[in-house]
């Protein structure tokens, strides 16, 4: 999920492309895009006709996008995670081209609808080709009244108010803070929601109850198998503040309690926050002797954030995230030391015992996305600077506040051509030895993404 990380290398044989051929890909893609830009996007005809009948609802509705993405990764060959990915150290850069097709739609009949979200992607780098197709969502929605909704099937959950992280999003997939607006695969659930509006101090409320089974072939990656989990959310709009109380119980993951809020304090200033408490959270921790042990603990995670719009149309989002379930600096150092020892072992012998141990630790929690305890997030976007309409430059920064390592991602976004979105990004990772971003596999990445919506 980390867009600043390169892909994991597997041992599968792949088609080879010569460097000469590789260089043609970006050129060809740019030519395709430029020559396929529709003339209507820049129409100068000065008529203001509007025929609303064209937009009348149809039973079958569908849409989606096609996307072309070019990425160039520069690896940090001295980093710990580089060694885990490429133990033979045979790679310094990665150039990858990815094509993606996403289809969404619905078929509606009175108060019933079937909705879907499908995604397929294929990518090719200098060595290998990969493709995959996923059903991100496919669910039936029944709405017997305006206040009651029943949904059954696979759908994505988006609980919580945080932009980069959602500690209270107990049914959410973990999003990429560098790209938090990307679609995420759902879980298969049955959910019932009930809404009431009061028009008093509590303006409205909604109760949602979700049943999430974990069986063979159903939500297998959620947690412990052969059980049924239950999650509930109570939403209240109190005065001008959104408040959610969230509860999860089940055997796949331990029970947990959450709370979130969001409020506008002024026409250009909003605040938000989340809180999560897990009374019994087990963590796999690397001991001094290199063994992995399960440590029972209770964890408290929280997030505080704000969003501010300046007179110059600059939007600033700031967040602070504390995650008790993350690893301390000392625990992470132990992990990096194990990888260093594995690297030394490989250099001097043919044994791979320590490498396997490090890989196992990675799979047990150390290798997951943003494993630290305290983070800061900042995203600043400037909409239409200097009267350049539909142009939005921005920069996103994430800092691990414990080890002071960070990543910075400036970007340029242009949406001036109808249904086209062009985005150019550069990600720069920086940190000392034994720090989170200093030990990532890559030290920078450049990405050009072009999307056409239909």
């Amino acid at each position: 999920m980390n867009c600043v990380d390169g892909p994991l290398q597997t041992g599968t044989e792949s088609k080879k492309i010569t460097p000469g051929n590789w260089c043609l890909f970006p050129l060809l893609l740019c030519c395709c895009i430029l020559f396929s830009v529709p003339v209507s996007a820049g129409s100068t005809q000065d008529d203001f006709e509007f025929n609303p009948d064209v937009y009348e609802k149809k039973r079958l509705q569908w849409g989606g996008y096609v996307e072309g993405k070019l990425e160039h990764f520069s690896y940090n060959e001295n980093s710990a995670l580089y060694f885990l990915k490429f133990p033979d150290g045979d790679r310094t850069t990665l150039d990858r081209i990815t094509g993606t097709l996403q289809l969404d739609g619905s078929y509606s009949l009175e108060r019933t609808s079937f909705n879907w979200l499908l995604k397929g992607a294929a990518n090719q780098d200098q060595r290998r080709y990969d493709d995959r197709a996923d059903i991100f969502g496919a669910y039936l929605r029944l709405r017997p009244t305006d206040t009651l909704t029943i949904e059954a099937g696979k759908q994505s959950y988006k609980w919580g108010t945080g932009y980069a992280w959602n500690p209270a999003g107990f049914l959410n997939r973990r999003k990429d803070p560098n790209d938090p607006n990307e679609d995420l695969e759902g879980y298969t659930t049955v959910e019932t929601s009930y809404i009431r509006s009061f028009g008093a101090a509590i303006e409205s409320m909604a109760v949602s109850v979700s049943v999430l089974p974990v069986w063979q072939g159903v939500n297998e990656d959620f947690g412990r198998m052969e059980t049924i989990n239950l999650a509930a959310k109570l939403y209240l709009l109190v005065k001008n503040t959104d408040i959610d109380f969230i509860y999860f119980t089940g055997k796949s993951r331990s029970s947990r309690y959450g709370l979130d809020f969001a409020a506008n304090l002024a026409t250009n200033f909003a605040i938000h926050g989340e809180f999560a408490y897990v009374p019994h959270a087990d963590r796999m921790v690397l001991e001094k002797d290199g063994s992995l042990t399960l440590q029972p603990s209770s964890t408290t995670s929280y997030l505080l954030g704000l969003r501010y719009l300046s007179e110059q149309n600059i939007t600033t989002i700031l967040e602070y995230y504390h995650n008790d379930a993350g690893y301390t600096e000392e625990e992470m150092n132990r992990y990096y030391e194990l990888i260093d020892d594995a690297r030394e072992e490989k250099r001097q012998t043919t044994a791979t015992l320590l490498l396997e141990k490090a890989l196992h630790a990675g799979q047990s929690g150390y290798g997951s996305f943003q494993t630290g305890r305290d983070y800061g997030y900042a995203r600043v976007t400037w909409k239409e600077p200097f009267d350049i309409v539909y142009f939005t430059p921005g920069v996103t920064g994430i800092i691990n506040l414990d080890d002071k390592s960070w990543t910075l991602t400036p970007e340029l976004l242009y949406t001036g051509l109808s249904n086209w979105q062009l985005r150019l990004r550069y990600s720069w990772l920086n940190g000392t030895h034994d720090s989170e971003y200093g030990e990532k596999a890559n030290e920078n990445k450049i990405e050009l993404r072009i999307r056409y919506f239909f």
Partner: protein, 246 residues
């Protein structure tokens, strides 16, 4: 029909006012302007066109429903890149829902979800009398000039200078002014026509701004008709299902 009767009643009432009549109630006049612009509860389709100095255009189409003084929802129908997005307004609170992406996020009235000259408070506009008091009213012959002052600081524009046509009791031009005194934009209502259910109001709203020289935005109204809605339609939980109202 009721709205039409009200319209003719107001026209008659205004025509009968002698030139030396005592000052009329500004707040009452503003309520009449609001009543003429939009019924209490309705649905409609809108096209919003952003026009650049070189004539290039970008268009958006919304399906909009409104109930009472402070509940409003706008669903994007076009272009494809925005389709399915929903903006919800409950009084001073505004949210934007982007399908498949995340829960509705709070947005602010001065932001613009469509770019161009219109901001969120223009697209999800409440009745003027809900957000403004009439400070002064001046008889200008065929029009009245109203100076409006925002009731709270959470309103997007601190002051409005509204020109109201006496014959139709419809707004013609509105200057939107910040608390600093700076003119942010001017709105021009044009093309009065009859919609369903006897609603008679301008079918176009045009705007320009000294802050975006050469840029214009136009909003075209269509298929406005009265319709009753449950309050529950205007909640965060219902936002993903707004399309089912059509």
């Amino acid at each position: 029909m009721k709205n039409r009767l009200l319209y003719w009643f107001v026209v008659f009432f205004v025509a009968m006012i002698p030139e030396n009549a005592p000052a009329i109630d500004g707040d009452e006049l503003l309520r009449q302007v609001d009543a003429n612009l939009q019924p209490d509860s309705y649905e409609m389709y809108r096209k919003l066109i952003n026009i650049e100095p070189d004539g290039k255009k970008k268009e958006f189409v919304f399906y909009t429903v409104k109930k009472g003084k402070e509940k409003m929802v706008a669903l994007f129908l076009s272009p494809a890149s925005e389709k399915g997005r929903v903006s919800l307004r409950l009084g001073d609170n505004m949210w934007l829902y982007i399908p498949n992406v995340g829960r509705p996020i709070r947005i602010t009235s001065l932001q613009s979800v469509v770019g161009g000259v219109f901001n969120n408070s223009d697209i999800l506009r409440l009745d003027y009398h809900v957000e403004y008091d009439v400070n002064t009213i001046t008889d200008k012959g065929e029009t009245w000039a109203l100076e409006l002052k925002a009731k709270t600081r959470s309103v997007a524009y601190d002051r409005l200078k509204m020109t109201v046509d006496k014959k139709t009791v419809q707004p013609l031009d509105i200057e939107c002014i910040a608390s600093s005194g700076m003119l942010i934009k001017t709105l021009h209502y044009r093309d009065i026509k009859e919609f369903d259910d006897g609603i008679i109001r301008p079918a176009r709203l045009m705007t320009d701004s000294p802050l975006h020289k050469g840029y214009r935005s136009v909003m075209i109204f269509a298929k406005m008709k009265k319709r009753k809605f449950d309050d529950e339609i205007f909640t965060l939980e219902f936002i993903p299902r707004v399309d089912e109202l059509r």
